[in-house]
Symmetry: D2
Subunit: 302 residues, 4 copies
Amino acid sequence: MLNEIVEINRRHTSNGNVASYIPDLGKACKEDLGICIIDKDNKIYTAGEYDTKFTIQSVSKPIVLAMALMDNDWSHVFSKVGMEPSGDPFNSIMKLEMNDTKKPCNPMINAGAIVTTSLIKGDSVEEKEERMLNFFRKIAKNDKLSINYDVYNSEKRTGDRNRAMAYLLKNDGFIEGDVEEVLDLYFKQCSIEIDTVDLARIGTNLATYGVDIETGERVLSESVSRMVKTFMVTCGMYDASGEFAIRVGIPAKSGVGGGILASVPNRMGIGVYGPSLDKKGNSIAGLRVLEDLSRMLKLNIF
Amino acid sequence: MLNEIVEINRRHTSNGNVASYIPDLGKACKEDLGICIIDKDNKIYTAGEYDTKFTIQSVSKPIVLAMALMDNDWSHVFSKVGMEPSGDPFNSIMKLEMNDTKKPCNPMINAGAIVTTSLIKGDSVEEKEERMLNFFRKIAKNDKLSINYDVYNSEKRTGDRNRAMAYLLKNDGFIEGDVEEVLDLYFKQCSIEIDTVDLARIGTNLATYGVDIETGERVLSESVSRMVKTFMVTCGMYDASGEFAIRVGIPAKSGVGGGILASVPNRMGIGVYGPSLDKKGNSIAGLRVLEDLSRMLKLNIF
Amino acid sequence: MLNEIVEINRRHTSNGNVASYIPDLGKACKEDLGICIIDKDNKIYTAGEYDTKFTIQSVSKPIVLAMALMDNDWSHVFSKVGMEPSGDPFNSIMKLEMNDTKKPCNPMINAGAIVTTSLIKGDSVEEKEERMLNFFRKIAKNDKLSINYDVYNSEKRTGDRNRAMAYLLKNDGFIEGDVEEVLDLYFKQCSIEIDTVDLARIGTNLATYGVDIETGERVLSESVSRMVKTFMVTCGMYDASGEFAIRVGIPAKSGVGGGILASVPNRMGIGVYGPSLDKKGNSIAGLRVLEDLSRMLKLNIF
Amino acid sequence: MLNEIVEINRRHTSNGNVASYIPDLGKACKEDLGICIIDKDNKIYTAGEYDTKFTIQSVSKPIVLAMALMDNDWSHVFSKVGMEPSGDPFNSIMKLEMNDTKKPCNPMINAGAIVTTSLIKGDSVEEKEERMLNFFRKIAKNDKLSINYDVYNSEKRTGDRNRAMAYLLKNDGFIEGDVEEVLDLYFKQCSIEIDTVDLARIGTNLATYGVDIETGERVLSESVSRMVKTFMVTCGMYDASGEFAIRVGIPAKSGVGGGILASVPNRMGIGVYGPSLDKKGNSIAGLRVLEDLSRMLKLNIF
């Protein structure tokens, strides 16, 4: 069934485009479409280009949020970043100025994600980076996860819009510490290389409320796991989050690398890869795959 | 337990204020706090001022949306109103002008709700009003529901901001027909008088995916029931929807009359009444009651 | 020389379009271009279609402002409408909501002009209309000025955007009295039929600081005459006012009927007609005519 | 007479505050108020603290604009910065995102001024700085003008909001070259130390259309001199420019250091110093002095 869903939806890839703002993303194969599902009994199902590597990009935002929520008092985190969906594109600056508080709306848009990254603890830049990478490795159950330095360097070189946001956030007191160091860590988190199996593992952990289904180890607290999934529902798919909730009804987070992380509470984690994006930055065929899957397996949580 | 939750949270009523923009709402008793729960086995639990009457106000929006979705092709409905949370106050006009499409963001903010009301079918103004009232009576299982004409007349007299929105929506092609007639029906839907038992009944119907738990009659299709609950999660509590989803995690819709309609899929419907409002227009003690209830009964859907 | 300037610039008419939002404006002849200059010695120069009739539209705004400033305390007028250029299109609603005060930025944008119209004194709708029309006749020295009722009816029928603004202004306390009556008077002032000789007469009166050059009668006080010219400089050409000030440097006000009223202090009044408009709503060839004229006659006031 | 005007208006200094965003500005004496007038016959009139030194801040913007207009094709300059008043505070970022073009509205707001600074020619950072400083010395006829490095260092350290703007402008293609180098030059231009005599000299040069009244040397072309005065009228006093044009009617530019540069075409240049600022950042008593002066000497150009 999974193969069928992938093959039927592969034609939608021609209606989108791979991200082109940095050269390395532009090299992705537009026709690729892959999926991996891991259910709570640890059964693994795959189809299509499920093992192609790509950079995690914005899918890193909920994971880093989970870390920030474990590293800090929640009240401190939410004094720096809001909880509300914004209805604006992911890289909007305007809202930062219009809100009375100037606070970024939520941790899933760039401004809020940069603030979230600044909350990761560590005595040095190196320690922060190492802690972050280790956390991604643990939740994805993959010790080989690493940073794609070509992508990282491109992000850094072309990141003036994110840099503008970060300086504004610094000016308004939402970022402490050195702006360029925070941005460096942010560009690194976005450049972690993964595949759909890694994403499915992360989704499964969220689905089981933070417990590793094989070892029984608790990676996230139940509350943090719920919070992360809630943000994925209200703000996970950029300014198409509302429509995705209506059509699919699963907590999910997309990235411009083509990845989508989805998690069905109590049932399964899903990783999707399809680098051909629609205008809002979501995988155009990946959305269809999840919509079909939700309908067939009755995954809608509402 | 319910009595305890109500009595503990009643003190929060002193931190808010009853709505004052129309005289009749200002007459509500600020200390009031009541709740009714009806579970899917039709067991009814009540506490506090559960049977005080109040006007439904914005809680009418998801119900009228359900009607509009049954009266029209979905594609037609969503060509007139969007699916995205806006992050703006309920009565924002600005977003109408800033969006490329000028389309109201979603059916839970005033602009979108007025459009939704304009989609109700009927050969005459009277027929539309009758159909609407009958639908509310059916889903609330209460034949006595009727319009509070004092409130309706006040709404109409002081409704210049809604009138401004409606003329802008007319100008941009999102409202067909006569603006004053649409507004008249909108002010009537907001002025329907209910209590928490009525709200709990509606919530139970949504929780059972549209089926009347006593008669087995299908009042809403399953898909419409899911859509309505999804909008309640992403946009049901004005610009505090995101925070409510994080803290409580239940589909819910509030109104400035002090009511909150909540629905826990597969489990129960909840009606809350507490006319003392916070700055965003939500019942200040009602929010706390639902937060406590969610934690105690593990109602969070994420 | 005037004929030459007109004929050289007539070719620019093909790069614009006549206003089409109401049918009667669409009937104008796109190639038309005419001008009338009256200097302070009462010498009259004309060229092109100088005597074609058209509706005054937004060119009425500075004249009605002059009336409002004579009918009311200035502090009252400026408590209802601001003095600042907005940089926004003439029909922007957004700014009304974004400003802390909600006050319309200035009397030259639609929102501010509607407020200005509401300040005209009169015991009845009829008296206000009569006073207004008489004032236009006096300052233009033309007893035959009258309202084009076809245009007025079209404006009224299609004026939902202005209606939206007016209800918002009413809601926020900037309009007193009945909104539909204010709009009615506003649509009438916009529908007064004039030609370039009438506009040049008005411009001459402003150039001589309010004194009729033939009779010596004072029509406006010196201060009111200065205020009106100042608003024409800072906000007279919609969101191209700044560019016009740089390129031409003369107080001027345009309208979508194709008219431009210009006034060179101490020297002359100018009326231009060219119904082919650029994207910002200004006469596309009329702007060029004034630019050439300013350079040749050294009219730039800066 | 000048002494009287200064002494009468000195009491208004108590209604404002000196700028405090950098420590050095906060050291200014709030009660100070001084003026210098130089007419076109080179007569000099002074009163109050006319020779107190202060940093030029935003008053540098029209001077650097003049340089940029002489260093570049005008069409190139205006492809990078607009000509329209914005109606927004001087440090607004929002407008950069809302405009279709993303282009800063005009050279008098910070975003536009930073772009203007980036257009100054020079083979090295040092050469640009030297050329700029020499131009200020020449137009102010004061070889001793120099940079206050304490203020410059403070500006640089606390300039994150300007930094945010500059990175956004870089991202959108309005700044070429290195952002930090452009900002460095911008912070230096703002930190030039002057007094009211220097400002009056600059104003006199603008009043005589660019010609040095003593030597007869042309410092600016006539057109550049007109352009600069036009921008001073439409955008010179932040978001109080419209009101200043109405009340005073003289081309003028203010800075948060407390200075105001004014220029009455064909008549005189005026420098004012009064570091107590109103909420919009203009010298609170300085505005009154200019208003009185305009009324007494009939300086209003409209």
